[in-house]
Symmetry: C2
C-alpha cells in the first residue's frame, strides 16, 4: 500500500510540482518497496507522452543532439523530459556529467526536466527502472520524453526497447561499418543519423548504411531513413524531428504502435516479477542465517554455487519465508 | 540429475575431446536444465586456467589483439581458449563475424579453442553463461582463457567481472577522454592499452590516461599501467603479456585473487538462483493458464503490470506449482 506521505507526493506531482516528481524518481530508482504501488496508481494516466530513444557509441554527439531536439521541441511549445542513462563515471562515483553540462542550457526552463541515471550498482534492473522513470514523466504531463543511453551493450538495447521511436547516432569516424553491424545497433534503429556530418566520410557512411539497410528484411510500413546532422550547429535537427513525426504516424497507422505497446507491457510484467524476487533474494542473503551460511560455504569454495542454488530453491522453509514477506509488502 | 548421455559427454570432454567440449558449451548456452549439474560435476576440477578479459569500444582492435595474444601464448606452449561475446549481427541472426574471421588464423591449431557467443535472445543471463563457458574451458584443461566483449554497456562490465585480469583497449581517435570516463571503462581496468599506437595522438592519450589514473584512489598492491600496442604488427604484445603476468603475481601476493574469487562465487550463486527462477517464470507464462490470462490482460492494457506482478507473487497455488517443478528438475 501507499503510505500517506508517498500518496501526498504523488498528488503534488500530478498537480505539476517538479520537486515531487524528482523525489518520486529517486524513490523509483532506489527500488523502494512502494515503487509498484506508485506505478499502479499512475497507470491509468499514462499514454500521453511520446518517447524517443537516442543511442550510439560514445563520442557520437548524442547529448548535443538531444539538447538541440529539446530546444526545438520547446520552441514549438511542447514540454520535454530527458532521461540520460550514463555508465557511472569511474572516479566521482556519480553520474554527474550529463546533468552538469546540460543544465547550463536548460537550467532556467521549467518546461525541460532532466534526469541522469547512473548504471553503477544497478543489479540488472536498469531497463525496468528507466521505464518507470519514463512513466513518471508521462504521468507528470510531459509531451515528449527523450531517452539517451551511452553504449552499445545489451542493457542499452533493452532500454531502447522502452522507446516509441529509436534513433541510432553514428559518426563518420565510427570505423568500419562492420563494427556498427557487430554492435547490433542497426537492428533496433527506426531512424539512423550520421552526426558530425561536416567531417570527411559522412556521405560515404550514409551510402554504406543505406546499402546495408537494403539487404535487411523490408518492412512494408516503414523504410529506415539515414539522415545527416551537425548537432552542435543545429543542422539537420528539424529534419530529424520531422522523421520522428513520420515514424510516429507510420507506427500508428500500421498497428506497430499496438504491437510495441503489448511487447513492452509484457516485458514490464515479467521484469517486475523478476525484480521483486531478486530484491527479496538479496535481502534474505543479508539477513537469513540458513542462506548466509550457504553463501559463506560457496565463497570459500567448499560448495559449488550450482548445487547451492539447487538446495536453496528446494528449501521449503526458506521459500515460505521468502514469499510470506513478499505478500506482506505487496 | 545428469542423464547418461550428458555424463558421457562430460567424460569425453575431460579426456580431451573438443567435439564434446563444443557440445557442452552449446548445452550451457541454451540454458538446458542439465547445466547446473554439469557445472557442479566439474566444479572440483576448476582453478587451473587463468582468464584475461579484453574489452573496449567497437573498432579498438580487440579481436586482432586477442589473436596476437593467443599466437604468443601458443609459441610458449600454452593452450588457449577464446570466448568472444558479440552483440548479434543484425541481419544474419548469428554471431558469425568473430568465428569466421578468426578461424582463418587458428583453424589448424588444436591448441586454440574459439567460441563466439551471441547476445541476441539472451534474457539477461549472459554474464553467468559466459562464466559457465569459461568453467568448461578451464575443466577441459586450457591454460589461458581470453574473454573478449564488444561494447561498453553494463552487461559487458559484468562479464569482465568474471576475468582474473581485465585489459581495457582504447584507440587514439577514441574521442575526448571524457567519453572514456563516461563509459565506465577505466574503473574496471587492471591494464590499459592504447592500441593503434602508430596513429596521431597515441602518446597524448597515454599521458592523459596516466594523469586520470593518478586522480583515482590508489591501490597499494597494483599500479595500472598504460601500454602502447600496434596489434596488427604484433608490437607491444609481448609487453602486454608481461604486464598480465605481473598483475597475476600482484593479485596472488596481495590477497586480491582470493577477494575476487569470493566475489565471483557469490555472484555465481545469486545469479544461478535468479536465472532458474526466471527460466521457470517464462515456462509458466507459456504453459500456465492463470498466468497467461493475467499476461493477456496486461498486454491489452486492462491491468497494470505492477498490480499483476503483485498478484502473481501472492498466488500460493501458482507459487507451489512453480517451485514443485523446480524441485523435480533439480
Amino acid at each position: 500500500m501507499l503510505s500517506s506521505a508517498v500518496e501526498a507526493l504523488v498528488e503534488r506531482m500530478l498537480q505539476g510540482n517538479q520537486g515531487a516528481l524528482a523525489r518520486l524518481i529517486t524513490l523509483v530508482e532506489s527500488d523502494a518497496p512502494e515503487t509498484p504501488f506508485v506505478l499502479a496508481r499512475l497507470y491509468g494516466r499514462l499514454g500521453h507522452a511520446y518517447s524517443v530513444g537516442v543511442t550510439g557509441p560514445p563520442g557520437a554527439g548524442k547529448s548535443t543532439l538531444v539538447d538541440q531536439l529539446a530546444g526545438r521541441l520547446r520552441q514549438r511549445g511542447l514540454s520535454v523530459g530527458i532521461v540520460a542513462v550514463d555508465p557511472t563515471s569511474p572516479f566521482s562515483g556519480g553520474s554527474v556529467l550529463g546533468d552538469r553540462i546540460r543544465m547550463q542550457r536548460h537550467y532556467l526552463d521549467e518546461g525541460v526536466f532532466i534526469r541522469s541515471m547512473a548504471t553503477r550498482g544497478s543489479q540488472g534492473g536498469l531497463p525496468i527502472t528507466a521505464q518507470a522513470v519514463v512513466h513518471l514523466l508521462d504521468a507528470f504531463g510531459k509531451d515528449l520524453i527523450l531517452i539517451e543511453t551511452v553504449g552499445v551493450g545489451q542493457t542499452e538495447l533493452d532500454i531502447m526497447g522502452t522507446a516509441d521511436t529509436v534513433v541510432v547516432v553514428l559518426v563518420p569516424e565510427a570505423g568500419d561499418t562492420i563494427q556498427t553491424m557487430k554492435a547490433g545497433l542497426l537492428e533496433i534503429a527506426d531512424i539512423l543519423v550520421v552526426n558530425k556530418a561536416d567531417r570527411d566520410g559522412a556521405r560515404s557512411l550514409q551510402h554504406e548504411l543505406e546499402n546495408m539497410l537494403h539487404l535487411a528484411p523490408r518492412k512494408e510500413w516503414w523504410e529506415v531513413p539515414v539522415l545527416l546532422t551537425v548537432a552542435h550547429r543545429d543542422e539537420g535537427v528539424a529534419e530529424l524531428l520531422e522523421a520522428v513525426g513520420k515514424h510516429r504516424a507510420a507506427c500508428a497507422g500500421s498497428g506497430e504502435r499496438e504491437r510495441r505497446l503489448r511487447r513492452r507491457r509484457r516485458q514490464e510484467l515479467l521484469q517486475s516479477v523478476e525484480q521483486r524476487l531478486k530484491v527479496r533474494l538479496l535481502e534474505l542473503v543479508e539477513h537469513d542465517h540458513s542462506l548466509s551460511g550457504a553463501l559463506a560455504e560457496v565463497e570459500e569454495g567448499r560448495l559449488d554455487p550450482y548445487s547451492a542454488a539447487r538446495a536453496i530453491l528446494a528449501d521449503r522453509a526458506l521459500l515460505h519465508k521468502w514469499f510470506a514477506e513478499l505478500e506482506q509488502v505487496g
